[in-house]
Structures are given as structure tokens and as C-alpha cells.
Amino acid sequence: MERKSGARSGLIPQDCQVTEHGATLVIGLGNPILGDDGVGWRVAEEVQARLQVLGNGPNARVERFSAGGLALMERMVGYPRVILIDSITTGEGTAGNLTCLPLSALPDPSAGHTTSAHDTSLQNALELGRALGARLPKEVWVLGIEAKRIGEFSEQLSPPVEAAVPLAADKVLELLANGGGGIEDHDLT
């Protein structure tokens, strides 16, 4: 089979290509019933509550999500800027520590086949989406909260992680206030 090049349109469903939002998408990631892995959801809820209090605050949409890779990429379509909130285990630092960095600074397991038994990496997924002409964010921030207990089902966060929730929400609001971002307009063909 030879490689087809050219036309970007028609490669993916129409509504994946044209939706555009001015807002920053804030996504709390994680599993809400898996101990500290639920911290992304908790921070997202805190951010949502604060935005409601602010009223005429930054233009943001807040969501909670429990998927990665392709599904997460598909969720980001049409947003100029995305902030991901997730638990991380760096093995360094203490539980509740915050790490904030652009996605591009995270290690990219470019060989997606070991990323997960069932999916590809978010980086791979974003590259795929861009190659297909999807309107994907220029700027993806990752706010990680060092987790302690993620191997046991529980709706509770461990105390140091719980204590980090308001601090993490502060950081998200700071990122929102700074603005930035834009739609990445790639043509890899």
C-alpha cells in the first residue's frame, strides 16, 4: 500500500476539526476510587468551586476524566490550552509535593507499544491527532501531585495529598490567570 499524502480534510470526522473554544480546558485525571489517584478529580472540583465564586474569572472549562492516550487526546480537540491535573509517583520527594511542567518536558515514551497494554502515550496520541489535522492545543501543562497510596481502593486521599489540594488549585488558577496557548496548526503531510 502506498502512502497517501495531502488533503487533511475528511481524514477525521468534521466535528473534530472545526470545534474551537476560547477557553482553557482543565482536566482532573485519575480514578476517584483508587486512593491518591483520585487527587486530580479533587483538585478539579476545588478549581470549579473557586471559579464559580470568582464569577467573571478566567475563561475555563473544568472536567474530570478517567482515561489517557487516544481518548484524552480526543477530549482536547478544539481547545487552545489544556491543564492536566494528575497524581504522579516520581519516587522522589514527599507525598503532596507539586510538580508543574509543560507536557513536552515529560519523558516521551515514543515507542507507544510499551506505554500501556491497551493504548498509546498521550504524546503519541497528540502527534497522531495533529497529523490527522485535528485542532489540538499548543500548550499542555501538567500539574502533578506526588501520591502515596495508589494501589488500594479507597475514596480517601492520604493526609499529605489531601493537604495539597488547595495548593494545587492555587497553581491551576495561577496558570489560568497567565493565559497563553493557541491552536497548534500542523501539517505533517
Binding site: M1, E2, R3, K4, S5, L11, I12, P13, C16, L29, G30, N31, P32, I33, L34, D37, F65, S66, A67, G68, G69, L70, A71, L72, E74, D86, S87, I88, L106, P107, D108, P109, S110, A111, G112, H113, T114, T115, S116, A117, H118, D119, T120, S121, L122, Q123, N124, E127, L128, A131, L132, V142, G144, A147, I150, G151, E152, F153, S154, T189
Partner: protein
């Protein structure tokens, strides 16, 4: 004394899987141990909750196939309340489930198993992914994959109320039905899915079946294991993902019987080994004979290949044609070449798409009788569905109020724990001879063994930064580390 090699795939949410390989004095493989992590406490987490919460709670066990847990839980909850959902509800559930299978099998083939074949098993690791595939064969394929996923998610949202984590199945049926407008949209997407599935099978035929090297790989000895197979079948012994009896066949293809969900304990026993948390299910009536195949060993697998082996055919015409071609090409039933699961998965993809349209055009699908309200006192119940990666069994016990007192789950991958362990051992035997280790080959072959079973080791919901590092540790006979090989560590 033996040498010791450790392969340690570690990631935060996929858990800590670990492979230890022990060598004998001559440096050949003596034994392998594959340890799968366990996320603890789910049973305890459930006890004390009302059973009707289980369809939404269990779909959070695992971010990979929440729809499968949703369905198995709903069926188990039906059984706990001794209620039979009306035909419209059953069909709605199966319709949602068919769309889910299309989504899941598509992702698996194109993002995971496809790259091995399209790029070749010896291609650089960095190219063996979905990006490599689209760069090699064209962007259109990527677009179709995204479209198939989108349509699947759309159907799941229409019937299940939410994307990915459906919430409409409850004891006795569904919380809502669909109207004619929704039905028309679902039918249209299903017709596209049939074309896509046919395209995928043609793609597989061109790329894989047309390439002698890949055919040799599939038909070769490394991934061949003679074992028992299980899979759910309908009243005509055709593959069914949502409902029916579980058919059990031996390595010669002889059917040992079929069991109803509530009979699963008569058929399936679980072996405990001291070196791993996870139990090894095996066929009770055949017995546990260790990690060996053959008719005297109760080890079985539950994969797309197993389902095709355990059934007499497919319930839809196009998939049936492919089913016949599959067994003709591979030399009759049952097929023991485990890598053929990738082909079997695509035949199931076509069946799921055809079933999607069949159900979307069923006159009862838009009916307004979509729930039977339970009136019996709840007690105990079992629900079984075929998850994409194996038979999924949920067993619940409740008190008279319907509050859970005990929960037992046998998830898809657990069924395949013993076969995966056997495949890893065989791959290791082929790649380690007299102490010489083919390092890159070892990692790749072990990964290919994983992938053919499409395993789910943890209850992953997502993964950031999203890597599953592999560590291979080689230890000499004196217990000292000779070499440590790492990938993405």
C-alpha cells in the same frame, strides 16, 4: 545454583509486573515466574454498598474496559434480584456492547498489535506504534481509527448516558430507551463500522497474510500452545459477547460442555501459587497439572481466538465467511497458534459491527418497555459477559436489603494468566541459550506474547507520563548482578 534474569515492567497504574527467569547450570531456561500486581481491597470497598451501585462502581475498576464491567455487573445485579430484563433492554445493552467491542478491538489492532506486523517485529522500537503505521501506509488509516472510536463512543453515550463510563444499566433493565432519531443515527454509524471492519480484514490480509515472514511467525512454534479454550455462545453455539452459555472445548476441539453463569464454580477453580498474588484459574474437571498444555492439563485461555475455537461459528453472515476462511487457512479447529488472536480479533470486530446494525434495525429496539421492576428479595447472583480480553465473571452476595456482603470477580486477563506465563517461558527458552541472551529480542518477544493476549494487569485509568519501563536483570550463579538492561527506565 541457577542464574536469574528479571524483567520488571513498572508503571504507576498498570502496576508492577515482574518476570523472573531462572537459568540452569548450563545457562538454559529452567523456569520463569511472571508476577502480576494486584490492586488491593476492591471486595472490601464494595461490601456494605447497595448492589445497584455495582454497574457504575465496577466500571471504575478499570479504565480499559469499563463497559464490560458495567454489563457484567448489571447482569449479576439482575440475577441477585431474580429479574429478567425485557427484550428491549437486553437488546439495548447488547447494542451498546457491540459498539464498545468495535471501539476496543479497533484500538487494540491499530495502536498495538498492528504496528508489530505493519512495521515488522524487528523494526526499531520507536517506529513500532500507531504513528509508524500511518506514516507507512497513509493518514487515511489514522482517520478511520479515530472515526471508529468516535462512533463507538457516540453509541455508548446515546444508550449508556455517558461516554466511556455508561450508567444506564440497572437491575431489571435500562433507565432509558432510544427514540427513532437516535436509532437512525446508530444504524448509520453501524453501517460505516461494517465497512471499516471489512477494510481492516483486507488490510490484515494484505499486510500479514501476504507476507511469508509474518505467516511463519504466526504459525511458528514460539507462540503455539495446545490448551483448552472457553467462550460464550448463543443457542446456536455462535459467538456472543453479551449473553448465553460458556462453551468449553479441549485441545482437540471436543466440547466438554457449556455452563451457565451460576454454574461457573463447578467448572472453574483457582490455583494459588506462593510467588504471586493473583490466582491461576483452571478447569476444575480436568485439574491442575502445572504450567503445561495438553488435554490432561486444566489450563485454558479466554481470548478472541479462544472464543472462535469454543464456538461453532459466527451469528452474522460476513463474519461467518471470515470465520471459515480463518480455520481453512490455519489448518482446521482448534487453532493453537496464539498470535492468530490478532486475526480472530478482527473477525470479532466485523461480527460486532454487523450485530450493531442487526440490533439497530430490530423493531423492538425503540420499545418503551425497557425495565422490569424487581419484586423478589435479593440474595446472590452471577453475571457473565465476554470482555474484549476474555470471559468476565461477576458474582455478588447480598443481604435481604440488597446490600453487598461478598463480591468475587474473575476478570478477562486473569483467565489467561497461566497461558501468558507459558508463552513467556517459551519465548525465553527460544532466546536464551547456554547463557547467551538475545536482549532486544527477549524484550520484543515477551511483549508480543503479552500483546496477543491483550492483557490488563492493573486497573489502569490512564497513564502519565505514560510509560511502562522494562527492566531485565541478569544474575549469575553466585547471585551477583551481571547486567541490567532497561527500556524506558
Amino acid at each position: 545454583m541457577t542464574d536469574r534474569i528479571t524483567i520488571d515492567p513498572i508503571t504507576r497504574l498498570e502496576g508492577h509486573g515482574k518476570i523472573e527467569i531462572f537459568l540452569d547450570d548450563e545457562g538454559n531456561v529452567a523456569n520463569t515466574y511472571f508476577q502480576i500486581p494486584e490492586l488491593r481491597g476492591f471486595e472490601r470497598f464494595c461490601v456494605g454498598r447497595p448492589v445497584e451501585e455495582m454497574p457504575v462502581l465496577t466500571n471504575r475498576i478499570c479504565g480499559v474496559c469499563p463497559e464490560a464491567h458495567h454489563m457484567a455487573a448489571a447482569k449479576a445485579a439482575d440475577a441477585v434480584y431474580k429479574v429478567v430484563p425485557p427484550p428491549t433492554a437486553k437488546k439495548l445493552r447488547e447494542l451498546l456492547y457491540s459498539a464498545f467491542f468495535v471501539t476496543d478491538h479497533t484500538t487494540h489492532f491499530y495502536a498495538l498489535s498492528g504496528p508489530d506486523f505493519v512495521m515488522g517485529p524487528q523494526a526499531p522500537v520507536a517506529e513500532r506504534n500507531i504513528l509508524g503505521v500511518i506514516h507507512k501506509v497513509g493518514l487515511e488509516i489514522g482517520g478511520k481509527v479515530i472515526q471508529a472510536r468516535r462512533y463507538g463512543h457516540e453509541v455508548i453515550e446515546i444508550i449508556g448516558g455517558r461516554k466511556v463510563h455508561p450508567c444506564t444499566s440497572i437491575p431489571g433493565g435500562q433507565t432509558r430507551g432510544i427514540n427513532e432519531e437516535e436509532r437512525t443515527a446508530i444504524e448509520k454509524m453501524g453501517r460505516w463500522a461494517i465497512e471499516f471492519a471489512q477494510f481492516s480484514l483486507q488490510f490484515f490480509a494484505d499486510i500479514v497474510l501476504g507476507n511469508q515472514e509474518y505467516l511463519d511467525l504466526i504459525l511458528g512454534d514460539i507462540y503455539t500452545h495446545r490448551m483448552h479454550y472457553i467462550g460464550m455462545v448463543d443457542e446456536n453455539n455462535h459467538v456472543n459477547f453479551y449473553d448465553g452459555l460458556v462453551s468449553v472445548v479441549d485441545p482437540n476441539g471436543r466440547r466438554l460442555g457449556k455452563y451457565a453463569p451460576e454454574e461457573y464454580r463447578d467448572w472453574i477453580a483457582e490455583r494459588v501459587e506462593p510467588w504471586t498474588y493473583l490466582k491461576f484459574p483452571y478447569l476444575r474437571k480436568v485439574g491442575w497439572k502445572g504450567f503445561v498444555g495438553g488435554e490432561d492439563s486444566g489450563i485454558y485461555s479466554a481470548t478472541p481466538l479462544s472464543r472462535l475455537n469454543a464456538a461453532d461459528g459466527m451469528a452474522t453472515p460476513l463474519a461467518q465467511e471470515q470465520y471459515e476462511r480463518f480455520f481453512e487457512t490455519l489448518g482446521g479447529k482448534p487453532v493453537h497458534q496464539q498470535l492468530a488472536a490478532h486475526w480472530a480479533r478482527l473477525i470479532e470486530l466485523l461480527y460486532a459491527a454487523e450485530r450493531w446494525v442487526e440490533l439497530a434495525t430490530d423493531p423492538e429496539i425503540t420499545g418503551d418497555n425497557f425495565r422490569t421492576v424487581p419484586t423478589e428479595t435479593p440474595s446472590e447472583g452471577v453475571g457473565i459477559v465476554e470482555a474484549p480480553r476474555g470471559t468476565l465473571t461477576h458474582h455478588y452476595w447480598t443481604d435481604q436489603r440488597g446490600v453487598l456482603t461478598q463480591v468475587n470477580l474473575i476478570v478477562g486477563t486473569t483467565n489467561n494468566y497461566a497461558p501468558i506465563s507459558m508463552s513467556i517461558k517459551k519465548a525465553a527458552e527460544n532466546l536464551i541459550t547456554k547463557g547467551t541472551v538475545v536482549t532486544e529480542g527477549l524484550l520484543n518477544m515477551v511483549e508480543m506474547a503479552f500483546r496477543s493476549y491483550d492483557p490488563c494487569f492493573g486497573c489502569a485509568t490512564h497513564s502519565l507520563p505514560g510509560q511502562m519501563p522494562l527492566e531485565v536483570k541478569i544474575t549469575d550463579a553466585r547471585g551477583e548482578t551481571v547486567e541490567v538492561l532497561r527500556q524506558y527506565c
